[in-house]
Symmetry: C2
Amino acid sequence: MDDLYRHPSYPLLIVISGPSGVGKDTVIGRMKERGLPFHFVVTATTRAPRPGEVNGQDYLFYSAKEFAHLLEKGEFLEAARVYNDYKGIPKQQVRQALASGQDVVLRVDVQGAQTVRRLCPDALLIFLFPASEEDLARRLQERHTESPEGLSLRLATAREEIGRLGEFDYVVPNRDHRLDETVDLILGIIQAEHARVHPRQVTL
Amino acid sequence: MDDLYRHPSYPLLIVISGPSGVGKDTVIGRMKERGLPFHFVVTATTRAPRPGEVNGQDYLFYSAKEFAHLLEKGEFLEAARVYNDYKGIPKQQVRQALASGQDVVLRVDVQGAQTVRRLCPDALLIFLFPASEEDLARRLQERHTESPEGLSLRLATAREEIGRLGEFDYVVPNRDHRLDETVDLILGIIQAEHARVHPRQVTL
């Protein structure tokens, strides 16, 4: 007799987002360290490589001309200007990974997550939530050499972003000293999503 | 500063269902063995206790009169006749457990799951899926001393029940020799559901 159960294979587009300073890169870094079988999106950027950065691994380094060409063709899932440079998520890379059956993981800021949702309603949006405002402030201070005014502007932005939580699917608290708990919860969510009777079906 | 994140506490009503012979009791038995912090519903029944069965632990043993009284008052979440006896899930027990903040786990057949959904749209319905028809047939044969006709009737029923999968939230394959995988996936689903931005809110 045949197997009754055939699990349909719909790879997920998993967006890790949250306010600036919440630890998105740290979480994704730990997911990579754990050797999870996902495709981690490599962001394209027009900025010059820093010493030690490897093209195709840390970033995809594009010339301004190449980037502009893809942008005009609508070939970025999400793109943003960062000071005088541009960065973006190439659709083609995501398409290829999904076509090979892999779940795709990418990180974007809160505004970027909403762009992804608009282009791809079945994307899975995870909001990393700071444990506390002190935590967020500490991280921002560690990372930036900012004036007190700069810091309070960033905290105000974070509060505004937290107000947009309702547009996400899942909320995952992130605490520095409990990074593996954060990753475990994200894995639980991904596992559960694959067990949904009515799965998300990503098209790009 | 205050914590930014306060996880709202909405306990879940988790329904473990699936065709006869799929192993619902085995799965719930393993969940109990693992000491998980859920309230496992004790079913009420009008049948007489068997040797060794403890009232309030294995079953709630009700007289036919008591059972009829509660049934008339609409105090069963789900009730069914089994040969000449009745069994049912007392709403009050579920209400109390939910009010104490515990997730509630109960097992019902496929038809019963649909009754629970009707009374409680935010219940979380999990469909245990047999690995194969051979698996299902073997289990049914182990449990019942049935004629070949009886067995093919049960298998036909299982097929019909599998056709109602679409009314469930999650589908979890169950294999005897991989019972802990089944339980782990159920736990992942419960954990993910608690991380939903828009949680289920069960009222009874």
